[in-house]
Symmetry: C2
Subunit: 193 residues, 2 copies
């Protein structure tokens, strides 16, 4: 029941999540994670044969957190399908802005190749959820195609905004109106609110 009876595997991932939030992605060293978990630098190898697999496990934590967050946002939203798409999109952007390090890691595919299979299982459900909502919001549209385009737009919006590229390119735009612009573009001016 003490602090140290949770398996080292979990403690490593915990330490990694903390370190990622505190110091950023480039600080997420194998040896530093081990240090924070209070073990030697060779210990993680028992559970994660390579550094990338440990990073993948940390990213997986991020994907489940994101799924949980969007689930809550959808539960709170009582409006129609269009409003639920907006809620999902808003939750996505909030996540990207509040946990930039984690968001960065989650989409650094060059760091996650080994855990690719597991990651698909965590990120694909979110996309099919979006597809379903899009189909419900606009029954006439080709839902997978529109959902794909919208997803790409959300992702790009999150990235460019985090880099302050959109801020200095568009001048004074704020993120909320940009998001609204994106939603209107892909779903039409629809009566949703």
């Amino acid at each position: 029941m003490t602090d140290s009876d949770t398996s080292l595997r979990d403690r490593l991932v915990d330490a990694g999540v903390e370190l990622l939030a505190a110091e950023g992605l480039q600080a997420l060293t194998l040896r530093e994670i081990a240090r924070r978990a209070g073990v030697s630098h060779g210990a993680p190898r028992r559970y994660f044969p390579t550094h990338l697999e440990l990073l993948s496990a940390i990213a997986r934590r991020g994907f489940t957190d994101l799924a949980e967050r969007t689930r809550q946002a959808l539960d709170r939203e009582t409006g129609g399908a269009r409003a639920q798409v907006a809620a999902l999109a808003g939750a996505y952007l909030e996540f990207a802005l509040e946990r930039p390090g984690m968001y960065e890691l989650m989409f650094r595919h060059d760091l996650l190749e080994s855990g690719r299979l597991g990651l698909r299982e965590t990120s694909l459900p979110l996309f099919s959820l979006l597809t379903g909502l899009v189909g419900a919001a606009d029954p006439g549209a080709d839902a997978p195609r529109v959902a794909g385009a919208l997803w790409a737009n959300l992702h790009g919006l999150a990235q460019l905004w985090r880099w302050r590229s959109l801020q200095l390119a568009t001048g004074e735009a704020d993120l909320a109106t940009l998001l609204e612009t994106v939603l209107v573009a892909h779903l039409g001016p629809g009566g949703g609110r």
Copy 2:
């Protein structure tokens, strides 16, 4: 007039561009670039005080290449503003797919912070060009906002497509129709083309 009278500075950037295309971003080591340029590992320091500055110089080369490419695409396109936006977007995506390593580097802002100022000068003109075209294609729209949203969409499209995320999420979509979907979304079904 021999091969070696071009300054070492340029030779380093050349070697970096080649190495990036041949082996990918993670192979773009300071020491390996120096090896390919035929100098010792300490030599680059004369021209690039830090590794990031060398990477920034390589990325700058990419930005000028991209600008050149879009310029040519626009010259070839004789249609209206709407068609020119499509040409610009197509050139952008082609660049991202044909030179994935360079594209990756160009948007790894964590690797380019030092040369940020110079990079702004090379990427901002492209955006204002897009803004102008959008304004011409749809005079009624808030051009900077629409251009920003469209830019984000292009960027996200390029990223997700490179990672094969869109392919396996949407099933069978091809990139050209996805791009058309995006253009229709932001500019309307417009009579362009």
